[in-house]
Symmetry: C2
Subunit: 217 residues, 2 copies
């Protein structure tokens, strides 16, 4: 094994160990000393393959994003890649939005600690551009139904609206599951998300855009 | 001054000092030693009026909730308490929802550290019931327009939907202002919130509820 192969092996083993530690106990359970013991390396060896623990957390979060992407891609949508050939209509696009939102809820419930680690701000600095691009790439799944509901939007405006719909869904999921508020049960929260996202889909038309209907401050 | 009056004075001075510390540096800036120095008391005296720093944070957060309630109450809405006598219609109710959401955005921008402290989970335990009730009381402002848009809902279902609309708005505000994502400017974020909340209002009708239009899992 070359030095480079050994480094790659250590890197993979550390990400595996960190992923398990986060999945079991959340970000606060992540300790360099424990990781070194788990993978059987010296404490200092961690820092030969990662500049700091933040970089290791980022690698775990990248895996979580990829796991979520595989989960979304498996969801049958009419407007997205995995769909049937039928031309997408507004009804199908709205169903897609609802299905994507419910998939996000289920992902958060099935992988609570890994999901929370994506949003916990333990990190000292802003994530690097490549990580932000990975996040933004996931919004594409929302953009597909949006292009049916708001065909008037250009790419930038559609991407922005996709981010906003994700943020709205994330808010319902994260406050709905919040243990410091009154936690909602999965069926109740799911029904709420269906109600709100379906309303968004129904109300999103070019004619109804606030650019056309001005709201006074 | 009686002992009770002295305790009350110390309590008030500590809340003032903690509020200033949080407003300037966030929750992480809150240190018992600094508070004691600011109000001119012994370190141990803090714990004669608050069981721990969490209880002190809760008192600051209560003030923030009250400040936000005063801010909302000052907003002229057609369906809420401060409105004119005109009978609320769907259009007016939708405008109220949008106005409340934009008010929330502005509050978060004007009081960033105090607003963030409401949601930062440094606290060891769940907030007491009286604090949860204070939070839930704020949802009443959202319930007023909802009773116009969804007159079919009973009190419990309307309160639940109000919480969900708040959560969706909170998601857009908090991820929109998030420094770890690409932060959106106030006008851009405001327009996004207007678009999404207006769509929700337009799409929320008894006929469109998912109970009537079943979405397959």
């Amino acid at each position: 094994m070359t030095t480079e192969e050994r480094r790659e092996q250590l890197r993979g083993a550390l990400i595996d160990a960190a992923e398990t530690a986060i999945a079991e106990g959340g970000l606060s359970a992540l300790k360099a000393r424990d990781l070194a013991r788990t993978v059987g390396c010296a404490l200092g060896a961690i820092y030969t393959v990662f500049p700091d623990l933040d970089a290791l957390i980022l690698s775990v979060n990248l895996r979580t994003l990829h796991l979520f992407e595989r989960t979304i891609t498996a969801v049958r949508t009419a407007t997205g890649g995995g769909g049937e050939a039928a031309p997408p209509d507004r009804g199908a696009a709205i169903e897609d939005l609802v299905r994507l939102a419910v998939t996000y809820l289920r992902f958060a419930i099935e992988h609570p600690a890994r999901w929370r680690a994506l949003f916990q701000h333990r990190m000292a600095e802003m994530p690097p551009a490549w990580f932000l691009r990975e996040q933004v790439r996931l919004f594409r799944h929302i953009e597909a139904p949006l292009s049916v509901l708001r065909p008037d939007l250009d790419d930038e405006a559609r991407a922005l609206l996709a981010r906003s719909l994700f943020s709205a869904t994330h808010g319902m999921v994260s406050l709905g599951l919040d243990e410091k508020l009154m936690t909602l049960s999965e069926p109740v929260l799911r029904r709420q998300i269906e109600t709100v996202v379906m309303a968004i889909g129904l109300g999103l038309t070019p004619e109804n855009a606030p650019d056309h209907q001005e709201v006074r401050p």
